[in-house]
Every structure is written in structure tokens, then in C-alpha cells.
């Protein structure tokens, strides 16, 4: 049982770490703020979710588990709000999304 | 009344007069009556003290501690008695003179003048009655500050400038040098109480004594030893009664009085003699005497000439102290009184001339003796006293100083006294000559027709002139006091 | 691992601090200072100071940043360019820094259990607070009871700050014209 749990957490945590890294990589590599948003959103959802799930399996008592769940729920709830707020603020501020066909906009 | 009560009274009487003076400000006659009355009472008090002293009682009184272990203390001794007598005696006379002068001159702020004058007298009493150096210093500074409004009485820019010089030198020297010396004395001797034979004896020796003595002598700026004499001529802008206060009644007398006190009761002449600590003062005082006389000679303004004369005369007292001979110390003490009487006469006369004829320059005064015979007569007596000729008090004091100098083989001092007598004569006699024998200039039509100054003023100056002569004729009391300074045997 | 975290976080803090010094966009500076507190808070967790981390996160990263932004709504957002580096400042900083570095030379090493501070006052807190005061969280015991008076002072400080801000900035009752 313990072995299965441990293996599962390993997988989840590695996966979560992977998503976090990829998401952040996106934050670094993508061309403009709007596209980067997608990368950051990834960390919040998949990255955080998998990591927390991995930890959940290792949690010593249910108090810790509850708080882990609360964290991930809170993140899931606020992440779209912040992303939206950011995107909206950026677009209203006059920042044009970078588009492949127009070749305009993006990082100024 | 007990001596202690009398001492307190001597301090408080003039102060108590301030209130009524201010309250009576609107009624000049009442105001001046208060001043005069208090003056009379004060003389009575001082005479009462004198009688106690004559009975061999040394009144002493502790006013309470100011700093831990250091009290404000009053103690009467002969020298202080002498100074108290001079100050108390001349106060009502000066007031009398001022009644005439201030009204005749239409001065403003007369109430302030009388009030601060009273405070200054109180401070002078304090200086005279001080039982230790701290107390003396306290009253010395109070005297400086309460005379400041008197010096700047006119309120003109010139008066303000004079006030700055006055305060700068007096406060400056007293804080920087005198206070340092006092605290050093306290630190070295552990006491500041005046004691015959000095309190520093056995506590210090070597060059430190000389340094300390110099700190005292220069620190006592009121003694006007060069180079700290500038305040005295500057203060000439003040009204004449104030000049009288400065030159005769209180201020400069407090200065030389303090020097004598320090010499005798702090150091003791033995200590000074052993360490040759006062030799430099012979030279310094001698230089001041001569230099001030030369300057006086060059001044045409009468009050300025008198001012430099004062500087010169003060250094006689210092010289008397510096010679360190008992006789010259006696002479120095007597000179306090002698010079006070003589110089006040001269200033009164100069002021009277100013009030009556609006003349301030000597060169304008030809023939004035005939218009103001009483005034110029008194002036002549005062001038004689300054020169040191009989039958005036100046002769007595000079004589003692000179004898002391001869006794102790201080030839420098002898030479200085001789030379200065000649110089004194050189700057006073021409005034007398032109006043009585000169002819008034023709263009003087503006002010001709004037006569004597107002009666109270003339009365005052005649009184002091008489005093100058009286001191020559009846010097016993003064001699006794001065002799007691040195332990009772002149 | 904890040590690696420690080193890297401190490194990032240095970068952030220098960026705060360097950048002229005050807005970015405010954001970075928020991130700086966040890093500090993480460091506190690594150093076992969970209560401090909690507070630093809530205050330094939260309230302070929001206040900073509140200020930036009212003042210009760009720092004026062209300020020369201050030699006097460099000197002061170099002197202070060297003094501190010198001071560290005789210090007990990081985490040394034999350091004096672990042996004089603190042991009693760890040993007896549960019996004397009660709460399992020793920081709370010390904060509220052993050194409760400090905390009263702390509360007064925040009270002072609040009414101070009111005194300086708040507008009064609006009067009918």
C-alpha cells in the first residue's frame, strides 16, 4: 500500500514539477503578455494541482490534507480571476496582442 | 537691628524700591522721591553696618546653597564696607543730579532708568557684601546685565552698538576668563569663601598662580585693564547719570574692588609674592595708565577724555594691588573712594555743561567757567583729585600707592605714577584754563545766554566736590577701613 | 536541500534588492519589493520562523505593497533620471558593511547549537512555557505573555500609525458650502 502510494506521489510530484517548469518556461519564452498568461495559468492549475495531489498522498493527518485541498481550490478559484483581470487591464491599456499573421503588437 | 538683617536690607532695599518706582512711573516727583528716600534709607543701613564693623563684629550670612557644597554667602569686611559706603553714598547724589539732568534733557523712559538704576545699586551692594567668590560673581554679572538697558538708554543705533561692545567685553571676559578662574579655584582649593591670607595658599604654586591671577585680572573686565577697556569709552553714549554710575558709583568700582578682593582674599599677597605672580601686572597696569592718559590727551570730546581718564585711574588701583605692598594696597583701596568722588564730580560737571549749553567738545568750552562758575569750580576740584594734588582725596590715595612702591623698590611703578601725574595734569589743566580764562567763540550765538544747569544737578556736583575735599581733610574713617583690609595695622 | 534553497533564495533577494535600487519605474520597484518580502518570508520558513513568515507575507508582501500602490496612484510613477551615484553614500555603505562583516568574524556559525543565545534565556521558554503559560506555540507564549508588554507596545505602534495617517492624510467632515 505504502509502495503504491509512494510511487503514485512520485509520479504526481514529478508531473507537477514538470508542468510548473514548462509553464514557467512559457512565461519566459512566449512572445507577449497574453501568450505568457497561458503559461502562467498552467502552473496554477496543473502544476499546483498535481503537486498538491502528490503531497496529499503523503500527508500525515487529515488537517494537512484539508489545507492542501483548500489551497488548490483557492488557486483554482482565483487563478482565472487574476488572469482575466490582467488580460483585461492589458487590453484596455492599449496593448495589442501579438498575432502571427499581422506580425504586430506584442512586446513593445 | 542685627547685622544679618542689615545686610539683607542693604541688598533688598534698592530692589524693593523698583516696584514703587515702576508703579509711580506716571508721577515723576513721586518716583524720584521714592528713589531718593530709598537712597537715604540705604545710607542709614550701610552706616549701621559700619558701626557694627567698628565694634569688631564681622557679620556673615548664608543665603542658602546654590550648588551642593557651595552657598551664596554674604560677609562684611572692611574693603567691602568701603565699597558699600561709596555706592550707597553716591546713589542719592546721582539721583539728585539725574532729576535735574534727565528732565532738563527730556530723556525718554525715565522710569526704566530709575528702576534699573536701583537694581544696579542692589547688585553693587551684593558685590560689596559677598562672602565668597561665587556670590561675588553672581552679583557682578547681575550688575553687568542690569546696567545694559541703562547704557543703551537712547536706543539709537549708536547706543545699540555701544551696548554690544559693553556686553560683549564684560560678559565675554567674565565668562571666558573669570568664571574659568573661579571654577579652577574651586577645583583646586575646594572652597570659594574669602579668607584673609587667601585660600589658594598651599594649594597651588609655580606659574599656575600667575596664570590664574591673570585670568582673574583680565576676567574682571570691569577693571578695564587694556586691552579690555573698549567698553568704557563706548558706553559714553549713555546719559550722564549712567556714566556716573559706570565710572563712579558701581560698575568700574566693582571691577577694581573685585581685583583687590581676589588679590587679598583668594590668593593672599604672600602667595603672589612668592610666585612672582603679579609682576606682569605692574607692567600691564603701568602701560594702561600711560596709554590711556595719552589717548585721553588726544580726545576733544569731554566725556571721552574723562572715560580714558577713568581707564587710566582704574589701573592705579590695579597697580596698587600688583605692587603687593601693604601700603600700596591701602592706597588702592582708598583710591576706589577717591576716584569715585572725583570722577563723579567731573561727570556731573560735564553733564551739566551739556544740559545747560549743549556743548560736548572741549574746544567749544572756552569761557564757560564764567557762565557756570559752580559747575566749573567743582570740575576743578575733581580735576585736581585726578591729578593727585592736595587738597583733594586723590592725593591721599596716590601717596599711599607711591609709598608702597618705593617701599618695595618697584621703580617701574614709581616712574609710571610720576609720568602719569604729568600727563593727567596735561589733559586737565588746559580745560580749566580755557574754561575760566578763554574767550567764548563768536559764532556761538545759538546757545549764548545760558547759565547754570538745573538746581538739583548743581547741588549734586557741589556735594561730591565737597566730598572730595572732605576725604582729604578727614581721611581717618577711610584709612581705618583700608588699614583693616590688611589685618588692622597700616 | 534546505541549504540550497537558502542560498538560492538569498541570491534572488540580492538580485531583487539591486533591481529595486536600479529600476526607475517605481511601479516595478514596488512590485519587486513585494516579491522581495515574499522571498524573505520563504526564507523565514526555511529558518523555522513560521510565525514571522506568516506576518511578513501578510504585511510585507500584502499590505505594504497595496499601500505602495495606493501612494503611486497619487504621485508620479517614474523616478527622475540623472541622479549621480553618491560617493558619500557609497562610503557610508562601505564603512557600515565592512564593520558588519568584521562583526561576523567572531560570531557563532549559522545554526550552531552552542551559540550563547540558545543557552541563556530561550531554553526556559522551550522547557517551561507549556507548563507555565500553556500554548504549544512557544512564539505565542513569549509574544503574549513573557514579553506581552512588548506586544502592547507593538499594538500601540500600529495604533499610532493609523491615527497618524489619519492626521496627515484623512479629509475631515465635509461641510455644506
Amino acid at each position: 500500500m505504502s509502495l503504491i502510494l509512494d510511487t503514485l506521489s512520485w509520479a504526481l510530484i514529478l508531473g507537477g514539477s514538470g508542468f510548473v517548469l514548462i509553464g514557467t518556461l512559457g512565461l519566459l519564452r512566449l512572445p507577449d503578455v497574453f501568450t505568457r498568461l497561458h503559461g502562467a495559468g498552467m502552473t496554477d492549475t496543473m502544476g499546483a494541482g498535481l503537486l498538491v495531489l502528490g503531497m496529499l498522498l503523503q500527508s500525515p493527518d487529515w488537517l494537512v490534507a484539508v489545507k492542501l485541498v483548500l489551497i488548490v481550490v483557492f488557486l483554482a478559484f482565483t487563478s482565472p480571476m487574476t488572469s482575466h483581470a490582467l488580460a483585461r487591464a492589458a487590453i484596455l491599456d492599449g496593448i495589442k496582442p501579438w498575432l502571427r499573421d499581422s506580425g504586430k503588437g506584442g512586446a513593445q | 537691628m542685627s547685622p544679618s538683617t542689615l545686610m539683607i536690607l542693604a541688598l533688598l532695599l534698592p530692589l524693593l524700591a523698583v516696584g514703587p518706582i515702576v508703579l509711580a512711573g506716571r508721577y515723576p516727583n513721586l518716583r524720584e522721591a521714592v528713589s531718593l528716600g530709598t537712597g537715604g534709607l540705604l545710607i542709614a543701613v550701610v552706616l549701621g553696618l559700619l558701626s557694627h564693623l567698628a565694634d569688631g563684629i564681622v557679620p556673615a550670612l548664608e543665603l542658602g546653597q546654590m550648588l551642593p557644597g557651595l552657598a551664596l554667602r554674604l560677609e562684611l569686611e572692611p574693603l567691602g564696607m568701603l565699597f558699600a559706603l561709596v555706592a550707597a553714598g553716591l546713589w542719592p547724589v546721582t539721583i539728585l543730579y539725574a532729576i535735574g539732568y534727565m528732565r532738563g534733557h527730556h530723556e525718554k523712559n525715565q522710569t526704566r532708568f530709575y528702576a534699573f538704576f536701583a537694581v544696579a545699586i542692589s547688585a553693587a551692594m551684593g558685590v560689596a557684601l559677598s562672602g565668597n567668590m561665587l556670590t561675588l560673581f553672581v552679583f557682578y554679572e547681575v550688575l553687568t546685565i542690569c546696567t545694559f538697558p541703562l547704557v543703551t538708554h537712547a536706543g539709537t543705533p549708536e547706543a545699540k552698538k555701544a551696548g554690544r561692545t559693553y556686553l560683549g567685553i564684560l560678559i565675554g571676559t567674565s565668562i571666558l576668563l573669570q568664571l574659568l578662574a573661579i571654577i579652577a579655584t574651586w577645583s583646586l582649593a575646594g572652597t570659594l569663601d574669602f579668607a584673609p591670607g587667601g585660600i589658594l595658599a598651599g594649594k597651588v604654586s609655580g606659574p599656575l598662580v600667575g596664570v590664574l591671577f591673570a585670568l582673574y585680572v583680565f576676567g574682571i573686565g570691569k577693571a578695564a585693564l587694556m586691552p579690555f577697556h573698549r567698553w568704557l569709552p563706548a558706553a559714553m553714549v549713555a546719559p550722564t547719570p549712567v556714566s556716573a554710575l559706570l565710572h563712579a558709583v558701581a560698575v568700574v568700582k566693582a571691577g577694581v574692588f573685585t581685583v583687590l578682593k581676589v588679590t587679598v582674599y583668594i590668593f593672599g599677597i604672600d602667595l603672589l609674592a612668592e610666585n612672582a605672580a603679579a609682576d606682569w601686572l605692574v607692567w600691564a597696569a603701568g602701560f594702561t595708565i600711560i596709554a590711556a592718559s595719552v589717548v585721553a590727551l588726544s580726545k576733544d570730546n569731554l566725556k571721552a577724555r574723562l572715560a580714558y581718564s577713568t581707564i587710566s585711574q582704574l589701573s592705579y588701583v590695579l597697580l596698587g594691588a600688583a605692587i603687593l605692598a601693604p601700603l600700596s594696597l591701602m592706597g588702592a583701596a582708598i583710591h576706589i573712594a577717591a576716584h569715585a568722588l572725583g570722577k563723579i564730580t567731573l561727570f556731573f560737571a560735564a553733564g551739566a555743561v551739556m544740559v545747560a549749553s549743549h556743548k560736548t567738545e572741549i574746544s567749544q568750552m572756552a569761557g564757560i567757567g564764567r557762565k557756570m562758575p559752580w559747575t566749573m569750580g567743582a570740575f576743578a576740584i575733581g580735576a585736581l583729585s585726578m591729578i593727585g594734588l592736595p587738597p583733594t582725596a586723590g592725593f591721599v590715595s596716590k601717596w599711599y600707592v607711591l609709598s608702597g612702591a618705593l617701599q618695595s623698590q618697584q621703580m617701574v611703578a614709581v616712574a609710571v605714577i610720576t609720568l602719569s601725574t604729568l600727563l593727567n595734569a596735561a589733559y586737565f589743566l588746559p580745560i580749566l584754563h580755557s574754561a575760566f580764562f578763554g574767550r567764548a567763540a563768536d559764532d556761538d550765538h545759538h546757545h549764548h545766554g545760558h547759565g547754570e544747569a538745573p538746581l538739583p544737578s548743581v547741588l549734586a556736583l557741589c556735594l561730591t566736590a565737597a566730598g572730595t575735599i572732605a576725604l582729604f581733610v578727614l581721611p581717618d574713617q577711610v584709612l581705618t577701613l583700608a588699614g583693616a583690609l590688611l589685618g588692622g595695622n597700616p | 536541500m534546505i541549504e540550497l534553497l537558502d542560498i538560492v533564495i538569498l541570491g534572488m533577494m540580492v538580485v531583487a534588492a539591486l533591481a529595486v535600487l536600479w529600476l526607475r519605474d517605481l511601479f516595478a520597484v514596488a512590485m519587486l519589493s513585494g516579491a522581495y518580502s515574499l522571498m524573505g518570508a520563504t526564507l523565514y520558513v526555511l529558518l523555522d520562523a513560521v510565525d514571522v513568515a506568516f506576518t511578513e507575507a501578510a504585511v510585507g508582501a500584502g499590505i505594504a505593497t497595496v499601500l505602495m500602490l495606493g501612494t503611486l496612484t497619487l504621485v508620479p510613477r517614474q523616478e527622475k533620471p540623472g541622479k549621480k551615484p553618491s560617493l558619500a553614500g557609497l562610503f557610508t555603505v562601505a564603512a557600515t558593511g565592512s564593520l558588519l562583516i568584521w562583526a561576523t568574524l567572531d560570531m557563532p556559525e549559522y545554526g550552531d547549537p552552542d551559540a550563547p543565545i540558545h543557552h541563556h534565556v530561550a531554553p526556559r521558554y522551550m522547557k517551561d512555557s507549556a507548563a507555565e503559560v500553556g500554548p504549544p506555540n512557544v512564539v505565542t507564549s513569549v509574544l503574549a505573555s513573557y514579553r506581552g508588554y512588548d506586544t502592547l507596545g507593538e499594538t500601540t505602534v500600529i495604533f499610532t500609525a493609523a491615527i497618524g495617517v489619519m492626521a496627515l492624510l484623512a479629509r475631515g467632515r465635509r461641510r455644506k458650502p
Binding site: F74, F77, T78, P80, M81, H84, A85, R88 | - | V50, D51, A53, F54, T55, A58, V59, G62, I63, V66, L67, G70, T71, T73, L74, V75, A131, E132, V133, G134, P135, P136, N137, V139, T140, S141, L143, A144, S145, G148, Y149, T151, L152, E154, T155, T156, I158, F159, A161, A162, I163, V165, M166, L169, A170, R171
Partner: protein, 144 residues
């Protein structure tokens, strides 16, 4: 209000949880990290969020200056008052052991009270400071 439903709905939903979390932190300072100060800040942050999303005017209506001022004062008074109470009960100032028959119970009560006072003051102080800043008119900047 109509303008940004996403933030509005989300904020409305979140605020009770934030408040509850703050109270949890307030009352569990004995057991884990947290306590009056942190709780006060978190409690205040709920109002800050509300003010940012719904506008400062609404926030001030919901939490008027008078109440804030009262809480601000009351917190300090509760804290110091606990100390004085201990003093009246015969202990030293802030000696909670004097508050109850058993010292540890007294300590417990004392800590609870002072933490409560701290939380109250901090909450009121943080909201006050934020509200004052946010109510400042940005256009006042040109006046001399």
C-alpha cells in the same frame, strides 16, 4: 458595477472564506503560526479586496469611519485593560495568572484577550490606513 462581473462574483464568493480564515488564524495562534496580528491583517485584507472591487465608497459605507475608530481604540484598551485587570486582581501589570484561580487558565484567558485586542486594533488600523490612502483625490496633486 455591471462592468466586471467576473471579479464581482468571485469577490463576493471569496469574502466570507477570507473572513473565516482570519478568525481561524486569530483563535488558533496558540497551536500554530498566527495570532491577533496576522488575523487582523487578513481580516482587513477582505475589506481591502472589497474596496478595490466595489469601490471605496461602498466599502466605507459598509465599514464607517466611526466604527473603525472605535475598534482601533477598543483594541488597545482591551489589551491594556487586561493588564490593568491583572493588576486589580493582585498581580503585576499583564500578569495573566492572576486572572483566574489556576495560573494556566488565567494565562489562557489573558492571551486570548490580548490577542483579541491586537487583532481588533490591527484590523481597524489596516483598513483605516488603506481607506485613507484610497480616498485621497488623485487630482489634488497640482494644488500648491
Amino acid at each position: 458595477m455591471k462592468e466586471k462581473p467576473i471579479l464581482r462574483v468571485g469577490t463576493k464568493f471569496l469574502i466570507p472564506f477570507i473572513l473565516m480564515f482570519a478568525l481561524y488564524v486569530q483563535f488558533h495562534g496558540d497551536f500554530g503560526p498566527g495570532g491577533g496580528f496576522q488575523a487582523g491583517v487578513i481580516f482587513a485584507s477582505a475589506f481591502v479586496l472589497y474596496a478595490i472591487v466595489f469601490g471605496i465608497a461602498n466599502a466605507r459605507r459598509a465599514l464607517p469611519a466611526g466604527i473603525r475608530r472605535l475598534l482601533l481604540s477598543l483594541g488597545v484598551l482591551i489589551y491594556a485593560g487586561t493588564g490593568v485587570l491583572a493588576l486589580v486582581e493582585g498581580g503585576r501589570f499583564l500578569d495573566y495568572s492572576a486572572l483566574a484561580a489556576q495560573p494556566v487558565l488565567g494565562q489562557h484567558l489573558g492571551i486570548f484577550l490580548v490577542e483579541f485586542g491586537v487583532g481588533m486594533t490591527v484590523f481597524a488600523a489596516m483598513t483605516t490606513i488603506f481607506f485613507v490612502f484610497a480616498s485621497r483625490d488623485p487630482s489634488a496633486r497640482e494644488q500648491d
